[in-house]
């Protein structure tokens, strides 16, 4: 026998095989690359971003950096009183944020966790302008007129002495630049003068190079009335005295939070770890379990209705089977919205079904059935819409079950029912699996139909997600609910694989 090595060198053969394999691989990659890139850009990245939002929580610490930094070391309990210094930091943070209206966003973010914070922030954002900072500006600029110019502040910010002023000025400037509001003609805001005065006062006793500034300003500053921030804030809204408010701010200061997930499970963050929400605030566990229950019900209904139909189709001669298959697929030719709306016409109180039932005297006019805007409506309409997804996999699996199996069973002495139960049915299980998975996963995330016919009791978790994405704008919570939904589907898929085996799923 002549070995390959003796014809051409082993290495060279190896190289050639490698090369041809590599070319094949590259070609295969080239074929899938466009779709892969498309999916990556339009699907994977946005979903990743969405999932990230469910834990992301940078807004609070970004907008209120000084306040949250100070709160870090505080032990907040029922007897705790917010110290004066805290209100000073809150004043600076809020003043910067109010320049670009960021305080309202933090307000609404925190409002998800504790109602009332939104209005508290909005009110305070307005009232801090009346805390007397304009007196400081007038007094200081009277002494040094250059202080009205932004260039002077730039110089001040370059110096190292007044650290707090520098940081505050830079933060303020950054916000304005972000908002495209900053130019050389921008006037420094009033609160900056308060900050500067505060800095000068506290460093005035030590000798420094900026003596001229201090010589001129120190006397004025000491004559100016001290601003009592705590009193002013409490005057604006006495909620600022509530430890709860500060507790909420403290709990949501970290950049990442499990708050959205806790919220999705009807929990909330407490100072001693997660705690169950009061009964009247619980919602999502109910909606999740309702979504699961209704999806299972719809899947069962589809299976019960679809199995006989698929069986009938699979045992028809091919030319008739194709005709009936077209009838099964017919609903796909009309829009989902139209079909759902049609169900509204049929199911409503004065709708076709009730009218007919009243007309033939089955029910009286006063006891018309409530078939829409509840779970019944959602189950009826969605079962109808998802039925083809059950019938098609069942049909294609049943089509592969040769009639001789049932014949064999009968010839071996099995009654028609036993032959069906022990021989036909087990072989159709892959179709049941495929159809059920398809219908279940489609229904668990269904949105349009429950939105239109579900009323309040027949809505799904997807309707809540849509509500948070488009109406309440609580994207984080929407993302958390979405990721829980995804996790539930994956978990069920895993369980299914364990129980039935995913190899047993056949679509045809």
């Amino acid at each position: 026998m002549v070995s390959v090595d003796s014809i051409i060198g082993r290495n060279s053969l190896h190289r050639k095989v490698q090369r041809s394999l590599r070319i094949q691989k590259l070609r295969a990659l080239g074929l899938i690359a466009p779709l892969f890139i498309f999916i990556l850009i339009s699907f994977v990245i946005p979903i990743g971003d969405m999932l990230f939002r469910s834990i992301e929580n940078q807004l609070v610490s970004e907008v209120l950096p000084r306040t949250t930094e100070y709160l870090k070391s505080e032990q907040i309990n029922e007897d705790w009183e917010p110290p004066n210094e805290l209100f000073w930091h809150l004043y600076v943070d809020l003043a910067i944020a109010a320049e670009v209206k960021l305080h309202t966003r933090v307000g609404s973010r925190l409002n998800y966790e504790k109602t009332g914070i939104s209005s508290l922030f909005r009110k305070s954002g307005r009232s801090i302008k009346r805390f007397g900072a304009d007196d400081y500006r007038k007094a200081l600029t009277d002494q040094i007129p250059e202080l009205t110019s932004i260039d002077y502040w730039e110089l001040l910010a370059e110096g190292t002495k007044y650290g707090y002023t520098r940081d505050t000025y830079n933060a303020w400037k950054k916000r304005l630049i972000e908002n495209d509001d900053f130019s050389e003609k921008t006037k420094p805001s009033d609160f900056l003068f308060v900050v500067l005065a505060n800095d000068i006062k506290s460093s005035g006793t030590t000798p420094s190079p900026d003596t001229i500034l201090e010589e001129k300003l120190l006397p004025v500053i000491s004559e100016l009335p001290e601003i009592r921030f705590k009193e002013l804030f409490l005057e604006t809204d006495e909620d600022w005295a509530e430890p709860d408010v500060w507790d909420t701010i403290q709990l949501y200061s970290p950049s990442f939070t499990n708050g959205y997930y806790l919220n999705s499970a009807d929990f909330k963050k407490g100072s001693d770890g997660p705690e169950l929400r009061p009964e009247n605030e619980r919602l999502y566990v109910l909606i999740f379990s309702r979504t699961l229950f209704m999806s299972v019900t719809i899947t069962m209904v589809c299976l019960l209705l679809g199995y006989p139909v698929a069986y009938f189709l699979a045992n028809l001669p091919l030319k008739y089977a194709n005709l009936f298959l077209i009838l099964v697929l017919l609903p796909f030719w009309t829009s989902l919205l139209v079909r759902t709306s049609a169900w509204k016409v049929l199911l409503q109180n004065e709708g076709v079904i009730n009218d007919v039932l009243v007309a033939i005297g089955l029910i009286s006019n006063l006891e018309r059935l409530e078939l829409i805007n509840n779970q019944t409506g959602t189950i009826i309409a969605m079962s109808h819409i998802l039925l083809p997804f059950m019938i098609l996999p069942l049909f294609s699996v049943m089509k592969t079950i040769h009639p001789s199996y049932v014949r064999a069973a009968k010839s071996l002495g099995a009654t028609p029912w036993t032959a069906f139960r022990r021989v036909y049915f087990p072989q159709s299980i892959p179709g049941i699996g495929a159809g059920s998975i398809l219908v279940f996963i489609l229904s668990i995330g269904y949105y349009i139909t429950p939105e239109l016919v579900g009323g309040t009791t027949g809505t799904f978790i997807s309707n809540r997600i849509a509500y948070h994405i488009s109406s309440s704008l609580n994207w984080g919570l929407g993302a958390a609910l979405g990721s829980i939904l995804l996790a539930v589907v994956l978990a069920l898929y895993w369980v299914y694989d364990r129980v039935v085996g995913i190899d047993n799923v056949k679509l045809g």
């Binding site: 040769h402 001789s404 199996y405 014949r407 064999a408 069973a409 009968k410 010839s411 071996l412 002495g413 099995a414 009654t415 028609p416 036993t418 032959a419 022990r422 021989v423 087990p426 072989q427």
Partner: protein
């Protein structure tokens, strides 16, 4: 042949039509004795499978009666007929193991667990598959699946077993092997077997009697040797084995023999099996191995036919010589490869010899060659 009193299985005047217009089975009368191995042989569409399905109970006879052990079974559903059946695709239940498949007919008959186990083991032994009880059908080869299918049809000890082209999916060698196994099983168990096939070799090898079907009618029902050597009509002669036909006209009768003038003017004598009156056309059937290329090698009294050699094919044990006789240029002569056997060259004129009892004058009918394959 309709012997209602003796037959274990009796078809009496059975007709079957699927669409109400065309009869797939036309007036079938057939009696099968207990313990017999009967094969229904015929081209596809000849009605043989329909007959089997009617016997099994999966099709109902449009007319006529089917008796099993003297009891009419027309209205008995298949599962109460106690007939074992082997299907073309084996129809082993893919979701059950081999043992479960075999236990299935016993379970539906509510046998005790130990009885089930004993019978399953017994039947596995019988088909020499004892080690395969825990396998799934999908893990077995075609021949092994075939054995299990056979075992399953036998495990509940039916007196009648139907087989619908059970060896059709196997390759040639395995098929031949299985033919003998089935035959031996039949001999050992003494069950009645009705076997359907379109493979004539299979039919000849295995059967006690063969019913040749065509066009919904049994063309001939006979033992294999009779069928091959003494076909009653042209269809059977053509369908069973290799056959040469010569077209001619009946000139006169001499006892059992008819003198037939071929198209080329020669007159030969042939056994008058199925011919009309003098002057009518006939087809003479001669088996290729009953013709000698050298007339001298024939016994006394052989008749001579002249022809031109068209092709000589060396096949090892035999030579096949294709010869033009009259208008038929597909006249085949099979000769044994012996040292004295002449090897003919194309173009040579030869005088063929054959005995007149080997020439059978049959009905004149043109047979569509495609039906036969």
């Amino acid at each position: 042949m309709t012997d209602k009193d003796n037959g274990f299985v009796v078809f009496s005047g059975v007709q079957k039509s699927y669409d109400g217009k065309i009869l797939v089975v036309k007036d079938l009368n057939l009696s099968i004795a207990k313990g017999e191995f009967l094969t229904m042989l015929g081209p596809s569409g000849s009605g043989k499978t329909t007959c089997l399905l009617m016997l099994a109970g999966f099709e109902t006879a449009t007319q006529g009666e089917i008796l099993l052990d003297s009891k009419p079974i027309n209205n008995i559903p298949p599962h109460k007929r106690e007939i074992g059946m082997v299907f073309q695709n084996y129809a082993l239940f893919p979701h059950m193991t081999v043992a479960e498949n075999l236990a299935f007919p016993l379970q539906v008959r509510s046998l005790s667990k130990s009885d089930q186990e004993q019978k399953v083991n017994h039947v596995l032994d019988m088909v020499q598959m004892s080690d395969f009880g825990n396998r799934r059908p999908g893990q077995l080869s075609g021949g092994q699946q075939q054995r299990i299918a056979l075992a399953r049809a036998l495990v509940f000890e039916p007196e009648l077993v139907l087989m619908d082209e059970p060896l059709g999916a196997l390759d040639k060698q395995l098929r031949e092997h299985m033919q003998f196994e089935i035959k031996h099983l039949h001999e050992r168990l003494g069950v009645t077997v009705v076997y359907v096939t379109h493979d004539q070799t299979e039919a000849l090898t295995m059967s006690d009697r063969v019913a040749v079907f065509n066009d919904g009618i049994i063309q001939q029902l006979d033992a294999p040797d009779k069928l091959y050597e003494a076909p009653n009509n042209c269809f059977v002669a053509q369908f069973i084995g290799e056959n040469n036909t010569l077209e001619g006209t009946v000139e006169s009768f001499e006892g059992d023999y008819a003198n037939v003038r071929l198209e080329n003017g020669q007159v030969i004598s042939a056994l008058a099996v199925n011919v009309g009156k003098v002057g009518e056309k006939t087809l003479i059937s001669i088996r290729p191995e009953r013709v000698e290329t050298e007339a001298e090698r024939c016994p006394e009294g052989a008749q001579k036919i002249t022809g031109e050699v068209l092709e000589f094919i060396y096949m090892g044990d035999v030579f096949r010589t294709r010869i033009r006789v009259g208008s038929n240029d597909e006249f085949i002569v099979k000769s044994r490869n012996s040292p004295s056997q002449q090897r003919l060259q194309p173009g040579e004129m030869v005088t063929l010899g054959c005995m007149n009892k080997d020439c059978r004058a049959l009905d004149y009918q043109t047979v569509n060659k495609e039906v036969l394959t």
